[in-house]
Structure formats: C-alpha cells, structure tokens
C-alpha cells in the first residue's frame, strides 16, 4: 500500500467537496477555536475530530467546513491558540491552496487582560490589544497599558 493511500485511510473523517480544512489544531483548544470562529452558529456541514495522533503536537484536532472560506483577518484570530494550524482550501475534492495562520497586529475581543484591576475585567468592554511581540506573544492592553504575556493568556 503506498504512503498516500495509508494517510487517506488513516484520516477517518469523510472528505469534503468544497470548503476549508483546518488541520494541526492542538486537541485541547478545539472548542476554543470553534468558539472564536463562531462555528456553532454556522448552518453548513461541519465535521470535527479530536485526539488524532500527530508527530508535531502529540494530539491534534481537525475541522472540516463545507462551503466555508475564511478571510485572512478572520482566520488569523485562531493563531493565538493554534499557532501551527494549517488551512487546506478544497475545491472539487482537491486541495487547491495551503495556508498557514499568522499572528495579527491587533487582537480584539478574544483574550482577557491579565490585570485584575483593568477596567475591561470589571465592566462589559471588548478587550483590545496591540501585539508587541509575536513569539513569544506579548499583548499590550489599550486600556490599562499593561502587557499580557503568552503564559498569562486566557481566552474569553
């Protein structure tokens, strides 16, 4: 059996005709990715899979979305919790494009400010950060001006 076929058989999740496959999501963050992209509200056919073996991540998750294509701005939001995520754009059952996610320059409304005395943690306010370092991630809050470091990051 050739390698390609083995891989296909191992995939266990049905192929899609047109749409996007998001691969290499850390399994633990699958539901956060779903929430950030608002997939729970989508009406198209979606397949999720978690706890697949992955050489890079140990355990990875996959999302397959029929007839959904993301703008860069939208998909880059998940880069905060799925740094190595890869997108396969599918048309007519074939991968026509591969993309990686990139950390954006601004992070709006996804991350909580680590500072308990920040106004955003005390009133209903959309958080807003400027990314001052991408690796490791350092986010500067527009309001309290404090820096939330990667290890302090909590997704809202």
């Amino acid at each position: 059996m050739n390698d390609h076929l083995t891989k296909k058989l191992k995939l266990k999740v049905s192929a899609i005709n047109n749409g996007t496959v998001i691969d290499h999501i850390p399994s633990d963050n699958l539901f956060k990715v779903i929430s950030i992209l608002g997939l729970q509200k989508m009406k198209t056919q979606i397949t999720f899979g978690a706890n697949f073996e992955s050489e890079k991540l140990g355990s990875k998750a996959i999302i397959k979305l029929s007839d959904v294509f993301f703008e860069d701005d939208e998909i880059n939001k998940i880069s905060l919790i799925a740094r190595n995520a890869k997108l396969n754009i599918i048309r007519d059952y074939k991968v026509v494009e591969k993309r990686v996610v990139e950390v954006p320059d601004k992070v709006i409304g996804i991350v909580k400010c680590f500072n308990p005395k920040c106004i955003t943690n005390n009133e209903e306010i959309t958080t807003y950060f400027t990314v001052i370092s991408k690796n490791p991630l350092d986010l500067k809050c527009k309001y309290c001006e404090k820096i939330t470091h990667e290890h302090q990051m909590v997704i809202k």
Binding site: K117, I119, E145
Partner: protein
C-alpha cells in the same frame, strides 16, 4: 474636529508639552482669566484625592467655569451599581469637559471613548496621571530654566510609582537627560523602562543607597512607598523606611538642585529639609493649579 483628551502622557507630543508649559507660565502671571465663563466642567472623583481634586477645582474656578460632580463614589449613583459607561454617557450630556479620577486602570481611556466631550485623566489606578507629569515638568522648567541636559535622581518606589514612569517617558523627549535610580531591589525601575532608555541611547545609573552620588543631581524626585501597591504586607514593612532624605545629606548638592515630591509624603523627606531652599515640593503643589489651568485651556482651545 476630533476632540482632544489627555489620558496618557505619551498621547502628547513635545510641541503639546511646550505649549502647555508656556500657557502655565502665562496663568502664573495672571491666574484669574475668565476663559471658562458659561462652561460647565464635571469633576468625577470615584476615589478620594485631596490635592488633585482641589487643584483642578481651583483651576476651574480661576477660569470662571462652573463645577458639577462628586468627590467619592459613595455619593454618586455608582453606589447603586451604575456602570462607568452609563455614568460617563450621562455626564457627557451635561458638561463641556470631564475631569476623572478612578481606581481602575484603563477607566479614563474607556471613558474618553464613551464621552462626546473631552476627558482629562486625573489618575486611573496605578496606571497614568499625566497632569501630575506636566506640573512636574513645569516645576523643572521653572527651577532649572530648561528641560534639556537635566540629571534627574528618582528615589523610592520606582516599581509601582506611576509618576516616575510618566516623568521618565516625558523627559526623554528633551535633549540629553541623565537618569539615576535609587531604590531597593524589590522596588527597582521595571525592565521595560530601562530597555526603552537603552534603545533611545539615554544614560541611566542604578544605585541602592543614597550617598554623595546625589551631589550630581539637578533634580531629586522623591516618591512615597505606597502600602496599597503591595500584595504582601511583609514586603512593605521591609522597605518602607529605607530611603529617607535628611537635611545633612544635602550639604554638597549643586546650588541649582531642587527636590520634588508628588505629595503626600509620609516620612521619606524629613521635616528638617522643609526649610532648605532646595526643598521645592510645596511650590510644586502650587504649580499644579497653573498647569491644570493650562491643560484645560489647551484641550478646549481657549487661548
């Protein structure tokens, strides 16, 4: 036209600083100028502050403006659970300008987004207090005749002290400043500020003791070690009495040297310094009124 707020000292350029300092000098010469006649200023103090509130209200009175507001959150509808958003929206309908002090960090930036009228940050928690920085700069300019080539010694709590951080940022806009930091390790100047100075090629020196090193100073900026900034009360007890400036230490300091302190002081400047002509902190507090008149005039384009 986009409204002009003052939230963080770094929102302003060197030109803004110089314009405000020029106006402050003008108000010092002639404090009663009725430029705010017919205008209403909201003074919203969600936490008590004697000096800042009184000097702002004096500034507004001297400009002929009317004041509405409250001096602690207990006497406002905040005690009924009203959000900052709603209080600000409501007050923004009544007043031409909002002066705000709030215990939460970032509250002023948020209020400025919500309000249709300009907002002046009179302190948002441990974050920013830009009007203090401008009056510190005015005091340096008045006593030294320039803001260039100043050797500033910052002493005390350099970790949590927001006034030293803002003053540091502002002074780097001028020619050739030198910074000397004297603090215990627990309260040392944070790395991010030292890195900022390094990147700008500005000289700074760190010490852990007050010695004759202060003989090089043009300005000594003393700060209070604030109990409320410490998570651990034992840490506070360890450092609270470490740096006390006494008259005898000033013997060989430069003739032009002046001592600043944002006040209130507890014990970090011994009362025997008060009669020394180099003690400038009470005059500094008087400069607060002129500087705040200048800031209001700048923001509302009154002059």
């Amino acid at each position: 036209m986009k409204k002009r707020d003052l939230i963080s000292i770094t929102d302003y350029s060197k030109e803004d600083y110089l314009r405000i300092l020029e106006l402050a000098a003008d108000f010092e010469k002639n404090p009663n100028q009725r430029l705010l006649e017919g205008k209403v200023v909201a003074s919203l103090f969600f936490e008590p502050s004697t000096r800042t509130r009184l000097s702002f209200e004096t500034a507004i009175n001297r400009l002929g403006g009317r004041i509405i507001g409250f001096s602690d959150a207990g006497s406002s509808s905040v005690s009924k659970g009203e959000t900052l958003h709603d209080t600000t929206r409501m007050v923004s309908n009544y007043a031409d300008l909002i002066v705000m002090r709030h215990p939460l960090e970032g509250s002023a930036r948020y209020a400025a987004e919500v309000a249709d009228v300009p907002v002046i940050n009179a302190g948002d928690g441990a974050n920013q207090h830009p009007t203090q920085t401008l009056l510190d700069m005015y005091s340096i300019l008045k006593t030294q005749g320039t803001l260039d080539n100043i050797n500033i010694f910052m002493i005390g709590d350099l970790k949590y002290g927001r006034t030293v951080h803002s003053l540091l940022m502002a002074m780097t806009e001028f020619e050739n400043p030198i910074f000397n930091f004297i603090a215990p390790e627990e309260l040392a100047m944070p790395e991010e500020y030292k890195l900022f100075l390094k990147e700008k090629g500005i000289r700074y020196f760190e010490h852990t003791e007050i010695t004759d090193n202060i003989n090089h100073a043009d300005i000594i900026y003393m700060t209070r070690v604030q109990k409320e900034r410490f998570m651990d009360p034992i840490e506070y007890e360890k450092v609270k009495n470490v740096y006390i400036l006494r008259n005898q230490m000033l013997k060989n300091t430069k003739p032009n040297m002046r001592i600043l302190h944002p006040l209130p002081r507890i014990n970090e400047i011994h009362p025997d310094v008060d009669t020394n002509e180099k003690a400038y902190y009470f005059e500094q507090a008087r400069n607060a009124v002129y500087t705040r008149q200048a800031i209001i005039a700048h923001i509302l384009n009154l002059k």
